[in-house]
Symmetry: D2
Subunit: 314 residues, 4 copies
Amino acid sequence: MNRVMLGQSGEGNISADSIQNSPQGLDNAATTARLLITCPDQPGIISAVSTFLYHHGANITDLDQHSSDTQGGKFFLRLEFQTPGLDCSLEALEKNFAARVAKGYQMDWRLSYARDKKRMAIMVSRHDHGLMELLWRTMRGDLPAVIPMVISNHEDLRSEVERFGIAYHCVPVVAETKEQAYAQMADLLDGQVDIIVLARYMQILSPTFVQRFPQQIINIHHSFLPAFVGADPYRQAWERGVKLIGATSHYVTDELDQGPIIEQNVHRVSHRHSAAELKALGQDVERNVLLRAVTWHLEDRVIVDGNKTVVFVK
Amino acid sequence: MNRVMLGQSGEGNISADSIQNSPQGLDNAATTARLLITCPDQPGIISAVSTFLYHHGANITDLDQHSSDTQGGKFFLRLEFQTPGLDCSLEALEKNFAARVAKGYQMDWRLSYARDKKRMAIMVSRHDHGLMELLWRTMRGDLPAVIPMVISNHEDLRSEVERFGIAYHCVPVVAETKEQAYAQMADLLDGQVDIIVLARYMQILSPTFVQRFPQQIINIHHSFLPAFVGADPYRQAWERGVKLIGATSHYVTDELDQGPIIEQNVHRVSHRHSAAELKALGQDVERNVLLRAVTWHLEDRVIVDGNKTVVFVK
Amino acid sequence: MNRVMLGQSGEGNISADSIQNSPQGLDNAATTARLLITCPDQPGIISAVSTFLYHHGANITDLDQHSSDTQGGKFFLRLEFQTPGLDCSLEALEKNFAARVAKGYQMDWRLSYARDKKRMAIMVSRHDHGLMELLWRTMRGDLPAVIPMVISNHEDLRSEVERFGIAYHCVPVVAETKEQAYAQMADLLDGQVDIIVLARYMQILSPTFVQRFPQQIINIHHSFLPAFVGADPYRQAWERGVKLIGATSHYVTDELDQGPIIEQNVHRVSHRHSAAELKALGQDVERNVLLRAVTWHLEDRVIVDGNKTVVFVK
Amino acid sequence: MNRVMLGQSGEGNISADSIQNSPQGLDNAATTARLLITCPDQPGIISAVSTFLYHHGANITDLDQHSSDTQGGKFFLRLEFQTPGLDCSLEALEKNFAARVAKGYQMDWRLSYARDKKRMAIMVSRHDHGLMELLWRTMRGDLPAVIPMVISNHEDLRSEVERFGIAYHCVPVVAETKEQAYAQMADLLDGQVDIIVLARYMQILSPTFVQRFPQQIINIHHSFLPAFVGADPYRQAWERGVKLIGATSHYVTDELDQGPIIEQNVHRVSHRHSAAELKALGQDVERNVLLRAVTWHLEDRVIVDGNKTVVFVK
């Protein structure tokens, strides 16, 4: 079975097998464009956008929208269209759209093309459950990404990562040289990646680092009802006898673990589970929640709106 | 607490409490219109429909669409819009839409108004779990319906139904007079209701009856993996040691339990459950699945496409 | 269909229909005993208990146990047995068990009989979703309880409750006379009920009231990941864009909403749901979580261990 | 991070990390014994078994039981106990148990020791989703097994398997030499493995092969409500518009896909998913269902009772 090549040479052929398996329906990927729009709500937006695309020969194949309020709210739109029938170049289309539609409606917008796979860096410490799922899914062609590098503050996972043909950078983070370490990592990443996934990276990122990659860093952490603050939350959850353990994936902002939520899920537990078992089950939840959040980001399904998200899922 | 009046005088006031509670966001109900469209897929449909509505002053507040295939497939559209800004009467809007948009695109379409609550008859035998949920939810204002009548082949549930101020018709069904019984029920229903819900009605409807109400009868029945044919399926499921029991709600067609599926769900069981307990748990699943299917039908979220459905849910 | 009579005359006949439907397998209820034990863990407990029962002619039909730690932990045991073969009276059995088994192992224990349905009071303010489910399920014979009274601080739900033949006491709670009001309610309840269910009772109980009914008050409240403190939590959850809303049922202790958790669950939501819709969906979760917590309590499946619970479910 | 060694040299050290993560609580694994019993139900069984173990110094740490019927049913018991305090050798314990307890109660029983990891062969064709999960989990120490070999009818997955240090046998199955192929595989497996997992092995096993490994072969296949017979079931499910797709894991018997069910689960789908996407989502369900079924088998949690199972899960 041929496989998608990973790493920086990620433009390798996709095998028939992985196309057939893919939930993303990659068969049209080469010609699929996605348009994301945020603007003040007002009548006529859908008409304006869809008419513009129609007149340029674009065939809209998916449209999802959301209005935060019918009076004075914000409007969010996600469109997929096919490009083969376009009467102009993509550059011309973007330029025309900016001038003739986006400006009048004060739109924040971006147009992306499924054939341009996003470059995804993964940062990890010692737990490999999230990392391995992302590597494996990308290798299978399930995740539309290339992975130029993995960064860790430990050496532990080097051989597992390099086995996939991916560069592994170990940048230790110690108190005295923290700023230097983050500067070094930022330099490794800057311009090389479109998205940074923290797959259980156990260091708190510096504000400078976070600000350099706005809405480009996705984190995963455990979540409970109620929340537990402080050390060893799984032990606290066990001591409190919770019946559900969960995980939350969100964009990273300056405020620790308070950024816009992309996805959450829970798993049922009981008094029979030890604190260690809660942690193991929690890692499975984390793995699945992170996978979904990353998938949706890579498919341009997430729009950030202040401190919340609009996620256009199937 | 004031309550929605049930029965044929269902136009009673909705209290502040039930508006606040309602998942349907009834606050705009008085002025919400819903447009459902099915037509051959081709470029330009969204542009044509949204531009037409925009030019007539309609404010689109929700749009969901589906294309069964980008090449030669069918196109399905559900639109919600607000009517206060319309530049013409609803009659004129419908007439213009038919002439200027629908005809050219060969559309099957219907326009409905949230203020016109659908008239829902419920048919039931002796099990009241589905019936009571529907009566209770409608009373609370959660279900946008009026209930002109309940029909049963038994007297058992009369007092429970009449307590809600709803007419209860008992029409026994016995082998020799079956056709007569169905003719009598069809006459009771014809022109009086928009939708007929079989909430565990244990008789097989006659083909004549079914054909008189196409895509207007919703049924609920148990479902298993694997399926069990014949008598007492819960006992068969118990004997087979299944780990999931389920329920399916669908539109009724001539072919028994083979009509277009609207909703399904399952509940986890184990070897600890007796056949009677499987049945009791199964009834809870049936109750919830039927409630969702009926809610979506009442909110004009379901389009039938041959023997399958497109369900535009939140 | 005959129905279980509610109210204080709750000893009415259970109809064949409700037996058939019951998840509790009521057919052996008349002769089922349940033994709950908590004691320091040590080898030999199961042997001692099961041998004692065997020698007295009890037939163990269900046994579930839990050890919090194999070294120096606590041991929890739930046994169901059939009484027809007993060689002595129930009084003698209890006396002998206390002397010959319980004392040596320092057991906290209680023996209860399924035929003695627990007396359950319901306290409620204005929201009826939890109340109605409990009334309806008890009427159907699904919940093994009698309901001597409903207490509310408002008159709103009187007619809905009295329709079931259950006494409705309205005891307004205002700041100046709060202590008096709670004293009045405690007097109504004391000795009359085995369990008090707060089905959205929106007043904070006085410490005196809570201490009078230790481990006898069950509450339900909404839960989120993360938690939201302060007014209108559903609005806060909506503003934060959570993807799950949940509910927690717990025993009431002096510390507000911090008592031992019995059951929790969540429901998936999205950006499409308004704050009002989150609340409506949250009420469905509350209804189901409360029902399960109450059912397990009534079936003697819950043992409180400090601030957590051991719940022996099927 | 040190890792559990796989393959036939599976006795390698388990690292501190994997112990900490393990849902199986491997810390006591070295001294944990598991006793599984099936026998005709009668009073006194638990007393006899627990008293026997107590007198020999075994400390019971987990006990789960099930009675199929309180009158004339079958009794099923699973016990975990710690062996350090035993007053005799394991051989003596087994011999004594057979003579003094098992014989009198006509017990089918088996005693196993957690330190003796089961030897698991995996058979696979071309789809690697189930295979990879099993390899990965075993490598992480989550699955208490050693994997002596993988057998496939294709060469495709050789490098992926050999990378884990596991022997890969390719045995093509073609019509003319089918019996020979199965004889060859049976010879490879016989005496070398305790359990054979079909992780999407697409050939139908010969009856001779199946009979040589009774209750030792676990299969996974897709499941739907309703069931679809014939080729390409995911396409059939898509054409029928099902709202749930599922998977079933079961022991293999002579009757195709009709053996005792161990575990089932489903995933929600909609009209938006293509047949290829249903298949991809179905593979995720298959992966998780198979993992749970295999885990429970490896932990001696499954007792087969005719054509159903008793599964003692946490």
